[in-house]
Amino acid sequence: MSASSAFNDEKGGSSSVGEPEYGHDPASGGIFSSDYKRHDDLKEMLDSNKDSLKLEAMKRIVAMIARGKNASDLFPAVVKNVACKNIEVKKLVYVYLVRYAEEQQDLALLSISTFQRGLKDPNQLIRASALRVLSSIRVTIIVPIMMLAIKEAASDMSPYVRKTAAHAIPKLYSLDPEQKDQLIEVIEKLLADKTTLVAGSVVMAFEEVCPERIDLIHKNYRKLCNLLIDVEEWGQVVIINMLTRYARTQFLNPNINESLLEEGGSGDKTFYGSDEDEDEDEEEKEKKAEVAAMAKRKPYVMDPDHRLLLRNTKPLLQSRNAAVVMAVAQLYFHLAPKAEVGVIAKALVRLLRSHSEVQYVVLQNVATMSIKRRGMFEPYLKSFYIRSTDPTQIKVLKLEVLTNLANETNISTILREFQTYIKSMDKDFVAATIQAIGRCATNISEVRDTCLNGLVQLLSNRDELVVAESVVVIKKLLQMQPEKHSDIIKHMAKLTDNIQVPMARASILWLIGEYCEHVPKIAPDVLRKMAKSFTNEEDIVKLQIINLAAKLYLTNSKQTKLLTQYVLNLAKYDQNYDIRDRARFIRQLIVPTEKSGALSKYAKKLFLALKPAPVLESPFKDRDHFQLGSLSHLLNAKAGGYQELPDWPEAAPDPSVRNVEVKESVPEWTKCSSREKRKEKKVEKPFYTDSEGESGPTESADSESDSATGSESSSGSEESGSGSESEESKEASESEEEEEEEEEEEKKKKKKDLKKPVQESESEQSSEEEERKHQRKSKPRKSESESESDEDEESESESSQSESEDSESEAEVKKKKKLAESKPPPKPVKKESKKEKKEMSLLDLDDFEPAPSPQVTPVNTFLSNSLVTDLEGLSLSDSVLSPATIAPSSTLKSYELLHRITGEGLSVEYCFSRQPFSPDANMVAVQMQFTNNASSDTKNLHIEDVKLQSGMRVKEFPEIELLPAGETATAVMGIDFCDSTQAANFQLCTHTRKFFVSIQPPVGELMRPVFLTENEFKKEQGQLMGMNEITEKLTLDVKCRNEHTIVQRVTTAANLSRVPCGSDKECRFAGRTVTSGSLVLVTVATKEEGAAQLTVNCEKMVIGTMLVKDILQALTQ
C-alpha cells in the first residue's frame, strides 16, 4: 500500500511540515482517516483534561515520529504535558521531547524544571529516568545543569542512578566537549565504583570520552577483572575490549620466548612454523630478533595481573552472547601465550551455528586468525565444510578458512571437498573454489601437479566462468615451472578461440608471450588471430596483445615483424589513451630507429626478464594489525574512532600502579611481622622445648602414625581410629539416609569425648604462666585456639583418609576399644565453659581491632582444651547434631594443611586470622604455622604451582629460608577467594620436597566486619530486599537464648561486626565480602521461648544462602 510512497518520499518527512499527506499514511491509518486538520485536532486532545485523550494524541504523534514524519509543530502543545500524572502519557512525552528538543531549544527549556524536580525524588527509578531524559535533551544552554546533575548522580546512593549517570556522560560530552576535564573527574570517580551495574556503563563512557587516559584504569584493573563475570553482557564486551588495549600497554609479550625459539629453529622448519615464518616480513623479523635478544637476557614471567585477566575472561567463552564470545576470543588472540590461544577455537566454531550475520563476522575473524595460528583450528576442519544451502558470502568465507588450514597432511581431504564444490550450481562460489585450489597449489608444492591437472580438466568445462577462472589460476601456477608444462600452454592457446571472458583471454596471451620460446610454432599464429580481432577486444586484452606482439618481435622478428607493426598501428588509433600510449612507448622501445635511445638495446632484457612467480595470498593476511572483532578489522580499513591496538612494550611498566592499597603499607607490614616473629620465637622456644611431649600427642591424635613419632598414647590411637571410622561411614552413607547420619554423629560425639581427657592432660602439662600470658594477650587468639579442636576432627579424617587404607583392620579394633572406653567427665567441663563464655562475649562485643599478633602459637592448643570441652558439653545435651555444626563459641579455627607424616616431619596448620591483609585488601589473610618435627633443617619453604579457580589470586608468603629442626615459624599469606568457597590448591615446597595442599575457606571467613550505625544498617537493608534477603525461622538452643551467646556464636560463624541496635530483641551484624565488598547484613530477632528469626541480606545470593546455613547451625546446636 505504501510501497511507493515510503520509498519515494524518503526525504519528505523532514521537509514537509504542512502537507496533507498524512491522510493516506498507513501509520495513522484508521485513526486519522482523511482528517486534514489533524494537528489542530491533536492539539485539542493534548489540551484536554482527559488522560485518555492525551494518551490517544500522544500515541498518534509517536506513530508519526516512528514513520519518519515531522511532528515538530506540536512541540508547544506536547511539552505542556511533561508534568502529566499519567505514566504512559509522560513516557510518550519524553520520547517526543528527546526527539525534538534540539530543534526547539527555547521551548524545551520549559520542561527542564520538571526533570530537576525529578532528580530529587526519593525513588531511585524516578531519579534515574529524570537524569536519562534530561541528559538526552540536546540543548546547549542546559549543559551546566546537566553537569551538576551528573555529578550529583555519580555519588548517588543507588547504583542504578550511578549507572544512569555513567550513561549520561557521553551524551554531555558530545553536546559540549569543553566539559571533558570535568567529565573525566566523574568517570574517575565512577570507575572506582564497586558494583557490577555501574562497571559496564562507566567503561563505555571512558572509552568514548577519554580512551587515552589509560592511567585511570590502573587502580581499577583488578576490580574490573574480578567483577567482569557478573557484569551485564553488553558491558562485558566493552570492558573486555578496553582491557585488551590496556594489557597491551602494561604487560610484556607472552610469546617473546617462543618467537625466540622460532628464530633459532628457522633452520629446520617444522610443519606449521614454516608458513608463519614466511609470513613475517623482514622488518618484523628484525624487530622480533631484538625483542628476543632482550628476552634472552631476562626470562619471561607473566605478570600475575596479566594472568588474572586471562583467567577471568575465559569462562565468558561460554556466554550465550556472540559478541561476548568474540570479545574474549580477540582478547586471547592478542594477549595469551600461544599455547593457550587454542581454547577460543571451540567457542568460535560453536558460533558458526548462529544467525548467518554472526557467522559472517565470526568467519572473517577466523580467517584472520587461521593464518597466524593454523594449528588452532585444524581439529575443527570439518566444521568449515560447506553445505549447498549456505549463503554465498558464507561459502566464500568458509573456503577462505579451509584454504588457510590446508597443509601437507590434510590437503588430500580438502581437495576432495573442493572437488565437490566445483560442481556447485553457485558459480561465484565455484570461481572462489578454483582460486582456492590455486592457492593450495602454490603453498603446498606436493600437490601442485595434481591441482594443475585438475584445473586443466576444468578448462573443458561447459561453463565459461569456470574455464576463465581456471585459466587465470593456471597462469599463476605455470609461472612457477613453465618449462615442464609446454603442452598445457599449447592447450590453453587453443582456448583463445572459445573463451570470451577478457581476464582469461588476457591471461592466456600473457602466458604465450612470456613463454613463447616454449611454443615457438603456436605463438605467431595466436598473434595472427588476435591481430584480426584486435578492434573488438576489451582493453586488458588489447594491452596483452601489444605485449605479446612486442615479445614475439624481440624473439622471432622474422615471422612477426609485420604482424607487430600492424597491431601497433591499430593501437595507435585506439580510443583508449592508455593503449595509444602503450603502443607508442613499445614502438620506440623495440623498433630500432636512428633516434631510438639507449633503452632499446635493453628491450629484450626489459620484456623478457625472469619474473618472480606471484604469491597467492589470503586477503586476510596481516589483517590482525586491526583489533580482531572490530569494525575496522571487518572492513580492513580504519573506522572513525578506532583505537589502535598498541604494540607490546619492550619493558613492562611498573606493575605496582595496579596495587590498590597504599604502597607504603607493605614494607611496614613486613617489618612488623618480622619483629613479631622474633618476639614470638622467644616465647615459643622455651615452650616448645618444655612441652615437646605435649605437642606430639595433639598432633598424633590425628593419625595412626603414633608409632612413628614414638609418643604412643592409647587415647591418641583410639581417636585416630574413630576418625578414620567416621570417615568410612561417611563415605558409606552418602546416600543421605538420615539414620546413618545420626549414627555418624553419635560416633563423632564419642570421639570428641575421647579427645577431652587427652587434651586436658596436655594443658596440665603446660605451664600456667604461659596460659595466663596468652589469655591476656589477645582474645581472638583464644578463639583461634579453640577452634583447633574442631579442626582436629576434620584434618584428622583427612589425613587418616590417606593413610587408613592399610590400617583399616587396626582401626576396627580400635573402634571397639573406643566404644568400651568412651565415658566423658562432664562436670568440670561445664564449669570451665561458663567462665569461658563470659569472657568471650565481653570480648566479642568490641573485638575486631587488629590484634597485635596474628600468629598462632602452640600455646593455643592447651587453651583450646577448655573450649573444646565446653563445646562437648553442649553437644552432649543435644540429641541430633551434625558434625559440622559444632562451631566453637568464639573462634579462629585452625586447620591442618600438612600433616607431620605426609609432610615428612614438616607439619603446617593454618587459620583465618581475620586480620586485614595489608598488601591487598581483597584478600583473606591466612596465617600459617610451620613446625619442623624432623631431625634435620628444612630450607626454602615457599609456595609453587598455584592452581586456582578462575578469578582467584594468591599472595604468597615470603619464602622461609631456614626452619631448623624442632622450630616453628609462622607466615601470613593472602588469598583472594573471589567470594566463593572454592579451594585454593598449591604446592608447598621445601628444598627437597613438594606437597600438594589446599585451603578451603568457610563462608564466614569470606567477609570482613564493617561498622555501620543503626540507621545505615536499616537503609542498606532496605536496598537488599527481595532476592537478596533470606529469612529463616529457628528455635534457639536453650543455652543460646541470651544476647551474649547469640553475638558470640554469630561472630564465630562469620567474620562480622555487631551493629548497635535500640531493641534488645534484635542483634544485628554487618560485614562486607572481602573481594567484591558486597554488604552482608545479618539480623537475629528473638521472640518468646527461644523462637527467633534469622535474616541475611546480601547481594551475593550464594554467600547469603551459605551463611544462613552456617549461622543457623551455630545458633541451633
Binding site: 524518503e10 509517536v62 550513561h167 557521553p170 550465550r320 550475520e357 553445505r387 571487518l634
Partner: protein, 471 residues
Amino acid sequence: MNQSQGFFKDIQISCLVVGWLLSNTASIILSFRVWGGQSMTDSAPSWFFYSAEMIHSLFLINHLGDIFLEKHWKSVISRSVCDYFFEAREKAVDPENVPPVLQTPHHYLISIYRGKLFFLSVIQTEVPPLFVIEFLHRVADTFQDYFGECSESVITDNLVIVYELLEEMLDNGFPLATESNVLKEMIRPPNILRSVVNTLTGGSNVGETLPQGQLSNIPWRRAGVKYANNEAYFDVTEEIDAIVDKSGTTVSAEIQGVIEACVKLSGMPDLTMSFMNPRLLDDVSFHPCVRFRRWESERVLSFIPPDGNFTLMTYHISSQNLVAIPVYVKQSINFFEAGSCGRLDITIGPKQTMGKTVEDLKVTIHMPKAVLNANLTATQGNYTYDCTTKMLVWDIGKLNPQKLPNLRGSLSMQTGVPNPEENPSLNIDLKIQQLAISGLKVSRLDMYGEKYKPFKGVKYVTKAGKFQVRT
C-alpha cells in the same frame, strides 16, 4: 490566540537557526572525515569530535524495500542513507547474501535479516560488529516474545509499544535493558483482554509499578511471581548437522543441542539440574542465570530461573566426536543426454535410531534449472515438484523399517540445454521423539529455596538440522 501566534514566530526563528546549525554540522562532519586519519589521542578542536553513541539510528525495512519504521537515538539521520543498502540489496541475488556490514561515505550500515524484514542500524564510529548484530537479533527476539511473531504487520499494529521498547532497550545508542522480564515490567505486552479494558477505562500499557528487576543482581527474574500450579518443563532438543557422501560415508557430523525451559514457579526457586553423563558436554553456553563456577567444578546446572520461557543452555558436540546418523539414503539421480530425461531413485532406511521410530521424514531436493517436471511414484508419502523454484519435496512421514519408502521415476528435462553436470544434494528432515541422539540424559532436578513441590518434566527430541546427502 495572539499569544500562540507569538509562539509560532519564535518557533520559526528557532527553526531557521536550527537549519543553519544543521547545515554547519554537515560541513563539520565532512571536514572531519578528511582529518579522520589522525590519531584520536591528541586533542582535536573542541567542536570537532565523533558522536559517541554505538547505534545511531535503526530502520526497519520490509522485503519490498519500504522503510516502515525509523528510530533515532540522537540527531536524525536522513532515510537516504538506506539507499546504499538498497543498492547492495539489488546486487545480492537473495536477501541472505546482503553483506551484513556496509560502508558508506559517512556511516556504516549493519543489518540483519529476520522474518523477511531487514533491521538496519546506522553506525558512525568503531564498534564491534557482532555487538550490533547480536543486539539487533535481541530486538527481533523481543518483538517475537511480545507479539508472537516478528513481521511488518504486527510491528505496524503495535507501533507505539515497539517505539517504547526501542526507547528502553537502547539509551544513547548503548544497550540499557535487554532482558525480556525487565522490559515486560515496564511495558506490558499487548493482549486482547487488556486492550479492550484499556479502551473502556483509559488504562495504559505502561507498567504502573516501576521495575525492580534492573536494580537487582538477577535482572532476568522479577520478584513476587505466583502460580497456582508450579511446574518446570525442560525440552532437550538435539539437531544433527551432517554431510553424507555419495557413497554413504559421513563427511562431517555434529550435534547442536539446546535445552529450552518453561519454568512457572512461584517465589525465588533455586534449581539444580544434573546429568547422567555430563562429560558429553564439553562445549556449552549458558543463560546468564547459570552459575558457571558450579558447572566447572561439579558439572551441574545451578540457577535461579527466569520466569517463563527461556533457553537454559546450548551445547555443541563437534565433528571430532562420533555422531550417530539415524538414517541412510540410497539414491541415484541420472540425467541422460539422449532423450532429455533423467531418472531418480531414492530409498531411505533406518541406520542408528536407538530403537526409536523416525517420524516426520522429509526429503527436499533443489533440482537444476533444466529439470522441467518430475513424474515419480512414491511407495509411501507424497511428493510435490514446484516448477518455478525447482524444489522437489517428498513428505514421507513415519519410517517403517519393514517396508522402506522409495521414490522413483523419471524427470523431464528442457531440450536443447546441456545436461547439468552436478547432481543436486538431498536435504533430509526428520524427528525422533524421546531420544537425545548424543545420549544426554537429565538425571535429576532439585529445587531449593521454596517449600512447595513443583511438577517437573523433561522431554527429548532429536531432529535433523542441516542434514545433507551429496549425490
